[in-house]
Symmetry: C2
Amino acid sequence: MSILGITNDKMTGKKVAIIGVGLTKFGELWEKSYRDLITEAGVKAISDAGIDGIDVQELFVGSMSPGLFAAQEHIGALVADYAGLTGIPATRVEAACASGGLALRQAYTSIMAGRNDIVVAGGVEKMTDVPTGLAMTALMGAGDEEWEAFNGATFPALYALMARRHMMEYGTTIEQISMVSVKNHANAKHNEYAQFQFEVSLEDVLNSAKVAEPLRLLHCSPITDGAAAVILASEKKAKEICDNPVWITASAMATDTLALSDRKSLTQTNSAILAAKDAYKQAGVGAKDIDFAEVHDCFAIAELLAIEALGFCKIGAGGKYTEDGHTKIGGEHPVNTSGGLKGKGHPVGTTGIAQAIEATLQLRGTAGKRQVKDANIGLTHNVGGSGATAVVHIYRRD
Amino acid sequence: MSILGITNDKMTGKKVAIIGVGLTKFGELWEKSYRDLITEAGVKAISDAGIDGIDVQELFVGSMSPGLFAAQEHIGALVADYAGLTGIPATRVEAACASGGLALRQAYTSIMAGRNDIVVAGGVEKMTDVPTGLAMTALMGAGDEEWEAFNGATFPALYALMARRHMMEYGTTIEQISMVSVKNHANAKHNEYAQFQFEVSLEDVLNSAKVAEPLRLLHCSPITDGAAAVILASEKKAKEICDNPVWITASAMATDTLALSDRKSLTQTNSAILAAKDAYKQAGVGAKDIDFAEVHDCFAIAELLAIEALGFCKIGAGGKYTEDGHTKIGGEHPVNTSGGLKGKGHPVGTTGIAQAIEATLQLRGTAGKRQVKDANIGLTHNVGGSGATAVVHIYRRD
């Protein structure tokens, strides 16, 4: 038995498809509540799939910290109730900012187990209704309370440590890191659901307010309200009722130590490296086959760590690879065509599902001005905390 | 497709076993932290199973509100890290007080999907480190924040409504309700892990302090710290490495409206009725075949609702059935031999796993002074909130 403990080879006999997607606008949505958001996304997804609510057999929802953000737990039943699906099994899953990715994985597993034919995976977070201090407390729940939060660490500070070390070890420049933000804002401009539909220049990023050196405001993803949902179906059901299914060919997950200080390296995200390795094995493809990817750029440096972990470039080469334009639309590996967490926004529990939706739109060929030409295989990379959880999914059109 | 949406018939080709269990003492454990508790339970379970940590391929952990109780989210990775299992997929699930039951169900599904052969399901809650007001806020997260908590409802009040209505509709007496507490304390006396290892008399219960009429202090389960873990294995692996496996023959779950006020009846827990029906179907047994059950007696009235939903007696007859002694050890359907939530304690996210452990001990024949004679088939019933989530599992020895 391997330490990874994944014996998914057994699972390749069946396939799971995404047959419907639903997304709310991302942003500071003062007029919408937590339950408004997830209901809107769920209804849109059901409508997009062309099914009825009665067809849904189970649901999973990712949400990071509704207890602190909205004084509400028991999220599965809440969502089933407000979406008019009362009765069905409804489970909330949580792994901080990777909660959405977990919901997708559990929905996928439910179908793989032969338990169900149609399952919903959703994500929701309402982050703007609380004082900033409480939002920070909630977000630091993704880190190690005893060894990080208690000692004053914040997530910008943790990612700043990773950035500094990457710059020192590999000669990565602050300009290269900043180019991630420039690219992702340029993509977000064409995404009507994005929180920030505008471009920023390299100078804008380099001159924005300091947050935790070397990271500045425009290196950081925002606080966001938003929800997302996808409808998954078994191969049989998908072929029966859907004319544009997008197939999930890999669903992988791995963990690392909760505290950054316990890791051997500050510049390699081991959970993502393990999950990517397993995902490529499940899907029978390699990094070179990936036509586009949505990765977890909670801070600009995180996108460099991601593309390195996924094997799009060598470890340490992410800065140069970005500077050379390989992650732009039209490049070797377009990354975060949706605008990423930086441009699209980052409602933490929602992000993993929103990534799957961008993958679906790209593979359907309906991504509009941000469409990747001839997109056939896509990947999503969703991270919790400073990398203690990573979830990688691979999708294909045919 | 049914509203229940459960097509588990397909799943009966495989079996899943419990091969190891681990439980901490329940109580006000001032000297132990959240992570101490779950690590202790996990290590005990791995040791009981006679496996090594390296054999564990995935883990699921139920925890209701660690964000509010311990300022910590990202629980899956935390548990993997502190149990020395870093690397493996680790997922937290939540459905308020049914979180433990959900962890068991997802671990079961992981094996059913062919994903893994050895999976851990755990539950943990550390409830005593916060001011009472914050604990109440956390617990009310199990209800409907907008329609219940905001208007001042608490869980004792919600269950008091159910008790009053049960008394009015069916003539149930406060003495009958109180006999649940007397029985469960009598059982807890023989459980070394229980928070309250002492008996209470009917007079003690009837004269205890009023909480929410007609419910008094000794009708209410306590605030508790504690953790539990079980090791699940596929049929093949269980037969290879375990000489006393306990088989899980049904894993069912259903939901109801989040708010009590939205339900047609205050005295029927529809989620439990649906889940029980499905569980009996999966296991191919009926209520009459159940040799013992652990049910969710968060308040004494809840045990009556449970035994009625499970079909041990008719709807409305729970009071009389209890008074007649049928739920005592030696009766027709011994209920809560562990002491239940009332006597054993109720660390909310832990309870569903602790119930599975009592079922395992009974089926192994190692429950000591609380052993049910010739126990062959057992059932657990785990509820979230006022009944918005119910999870039912059935177990057998051979």
